[in-house]
Symmetry: C2
Subunit: 135 residues, 2 copies
Amino acid sequence: MKPEERVLSANQQFYVALELLDLDAMDAVWLHEGWVTCVHPGWELLEGWEEVRESWRRIFENTQRMKVEISNVSVRVENSTAWVHCVEQVTSSFATGFSTAWVQATNLFVKRGEGWMMVHHHASPIPRDEDQTVQ
Amino acid sequence: MKPEERVLSANQQFYVALELLDLDAMDAVWLHEGWVTCVHPGWELLEGWEEVRESWRRIFENTQRMKVEISNVSVRVENSTAWVHCVEQVTSSFATGFSTAWVQATNLFVKRGEGWMMVHHHASPIPRDEDQTVQ
């Protein structure tokens, strides 16, 4: 398998974890080090696996269901580092309603042994006319 | 000079180019390849140096002055790749007024020879109460 394919597979695992709201699956995707980082849409940087994990735990806790469709995927491998860009169409169900949002994501991975581990996720909102929140 | 210092210096050059609205300086910061990428706040991904450069040209053309203050800077070097996270406080003057915005940035660099070249810039808005636009 080419490195690009392995990276795209790791990227896919991230979105499976997200859609399943599965913290154990998220644990398996990320590198557990103090320097990993995450930017959720509209948030400031979170730093360190504990802080990043806690953010996913809270997001999962406050979401009933999440559907994520990925498009415009590109991947670049540079030695032991790789990054994926993609657009996420995220439909979330909460206790009070649901919302659909488009997000531009940068996902950064480093190679450890044979595996590619996520070390940074940067997601930013793409305003669209079709954006909607139903409460 | 440590690699981290060189990367932070390249990052600084990017913000000097931005503040000076200097396209030549921006040319010197970026790697000129078809796979470099850029996400401006609220934009979708731009791909390829030509498209990225054109976006800077237009932004500079439509801005009279720009003041950028950087804070919360962190850097990570992984072999021939490095990334910087920082918060940008951007005050822009246009023909019609000015605006101040806070932005969370991820800047990605690769090493070519002795130099660190920017290959990705991802900037996303951080909503703050103090955000203001005066028209």
